[in-house]
Amino acid sequence: MVATQEYKVIGTRPIRHDGLDKVTGRAIYGADVKLPDMLYGFVLRSPHAHARIRSIDTSAAEAMPGVVAVMTANDMPEAADELVDLGEGAINFSHASDHIMAMSKAKFKGHPVAAVAATSTNVAREAVAAIKVDWEVLKSAVTVDEALAPDAPVILDGWVGDDLGEKSTKPNVGSHFRHEFGDIEKGFADSTTIIEHRYDLAMVHQGYIEPHNGTAIWDQEDRVRLWTSTQGAFTVRTQLAGILQLDESRIKVTPTEIGGGFGGKIPIYVEPLAAILSKKSGGKPVRILMDRPEVFEATGPTPGGWVSVRLGVKDRKIIAGDADIRFDAGGFPGSPVGAAAMCVFSCYDIENTRIDGWDIIVNKPKTAAYRAPGSTHVAYAIECIIDEICEELDLDPIQFRLDNASKEGTRRGDGPIFPRIGNIETLEAARDSAHWNAPLDKNPGNGNVRGRGIANGYWFNVGLKSSVNLSVNTDGTVMLIEGSTDIGGTRASIAMQAAEVLGIRAEDIIPTVVDTDSVGYTDVTGGSRTTYATGFAAYKAAQNLIDELTARAATIWDIPEDEVVFEDGKFSSKSDPELSMTFKEIAGKLNETGGPVSSTGAVDLENAGGGFAVHICDLEIDPETGKTDVIRYTAVQDVGKAIHPSYVEGQMQGGAVQGIGWALNEEYFMSDDGQMVNSSYLDYRMPTSLDLPEIETVIVEVPNPIHPFGVRGVGEPPIVPPVAAIANAINDALGIRLREAPMNPGRILEALKEKNG
């Protein structure tokens, strides 16, 4: 299904407004911020996964030439022990403060314990090395099962988690919740085919190329200015205010260009440390840049853990589904297990369901969002089990999914009813795609074998708050001021929506992302919300601008306002066809007719129905080595309406490739004592250009009924199906079911050996 509405700007592919700065090296990212008299910070981090701090001796560091300030957790203000809404997610400031710098105990390797500001990075590093910490190393638990074992260490002192409404008796349970609808026991009793398996996944990282950074000034009037690359300047402001115990109005956050985030640049890490070091330095600016091992070891990856799913089928219908999802949250509670539970059965219409979710505290870095957080994990389990059912019952994998597909009116596993969604249309587009209909030569003759896999995936489309200001220039262009940081072309996709309303070219809008003092509150660039929600704010601002200009046209022509209409980019009089002005013409008359015209659009949107992505993957595997190459890949997705199709395709391709890396090689490889031993790009093994084929895209457009242009979120769904699609392709090629990710060559070899004896 394709949207039929005709647009002039939407659906075209203009060059993005920030493109020139980014291809010439002029764009200023966080690490490029350089202020007069700036100091350079560096952080001392725990070398242990779990260890109590007996004492810290900073005297040698303080005595070093070039060192200006040294801090420990004693310099952190005491923060409130309560959950606070961050728009996207929530935060406990006491935990956050302890996370930013460990008060009494390091809960993961890389947990900050002290920091230094000095006249050069090298001096700061040397000074950090001179700080002596007396550690009492404690037993660590780095997996869900270890942390739930009877002899597990207590990781978060004093924490008591909620276990189905009761206080948990296990120390490392962050929470345990359940959704249950229908009659699950009867559902399985009535089923003629039941398949159940557990799928394990390793912790993985978003892998953005730009390390975290923060440059801060905390001046003598207790005003904090911060420059940082973040997905949401306002969310940073809220976090900083809670951690530094300052009013939000005393904090100004300037978002720089951002070198990738994928959810990982919503939380803050070094930013409060830079601010406190600045205060201790008498208000000098302090810049802290993470290095790559710090990014891996001490920012917010997505959890590892396991997902166990049982499905019951009768007459080609899934009638019962039971899921147990256990995620490692890291050193503090708060993994995305809630969202995982809401996604696990979302592609299907199942009458009887039960979903258990466990958030488990472990001695690993505190997890953060990563592109459709939690949904990839559960898709790995359910989409592989669906594939097994199809194999066992000899059913077509797309037709079976269509026969059981969720649609408008289907009850999700967590209760609510789906509004208009494009699951069926997406599956049909996959079924009809060139890729699905192309034959695959399973034995290409070089000793390798090939296989094809398919999987579906769902992710929400968060709404939330966005603000946009517009002002008209007398040359007919429009300044667009927004608070959404632009990670992948959203200046363009937002400007295009305003341009569509105003009847001008996308190039005639000049979008600027500004600091928290200069625009209304705007939630993060995340949750697949920016083109949807900030685009909606731009739409509203543009409508308001038209209202203002309509009034101005009436003034100019001296006719009543309701006589003026705006159509096809022109203001005209209903009664006098001679009276007509283009947008540009009226803009040129503003100065002599009352002065500038500007407008504002602010929204706080409901979530949209969400998006579905179906991926088809062909692999070629060397059965002697387990080496796996993706040789053809197609991503099909319902995007509602593609505002800028190139960047929609880019999201689909990029998400697919992150998922491919997750499926095949990426993982936090942990040593027995809880150390991540592969904290470099070299050994973390993200895909390179040579590891991939072209990523074909099929855009499906089932308009979102609550957005003026039908936009749905695009960024997150494409990372959901790849892990399962690859697992299914491996099975198609080799007849082995790999139930642990990454499905790397070593695991493939082991499984083949087991199969062949």
């Binding site: 493109g19 190139s646 395709e649 490739v657 390179t688 250009s689």
Partner: protein, 156 residues
Amino acid sequence: MVDKVHVKTTINGQEYEFLVEPYMSLLETLRDVLNLTGTKEGCNDGNCGACTVEMNGRIVDSCCVLGAEVNGGTINTIEGMATAEGLHPLQQAFLEEAALQCGICTPGFLISAKSLLEREPDADEHRIRYWLAGNLCRCTGYDKIIKAVQKTQATA
């Protein structure tokens, strides 16, 4: 303490003369001493290519070169890629093909791709992917980057 080293070099066609700590990388030198911040740091250990520059006619990871090493040499960075006449065709193709999302890896990719096309204007897709394997991109899945290079070849 060690003494700073005196370096004379040509960067983007301009003569530069400066002092630098002998242990400072070329990447730090470009960014912190010379304020040429278009060259980016992603890993600082030669595995992401975000800091790629052309040094004496070959692409290198500037994090794995000392600033002192470029004395008497020739460096080309992203800041020198566009001229008064306009953008380099690769820069234009990256814009038209949407070959960047966050843009942090873009300078490195452009420098690498330029070096490839100067040496092998007819490189096929596999060769392009091989040549660019030292540059990581986490946003695009590489598809549009490869297409932008191919488009540049086609319009050359």
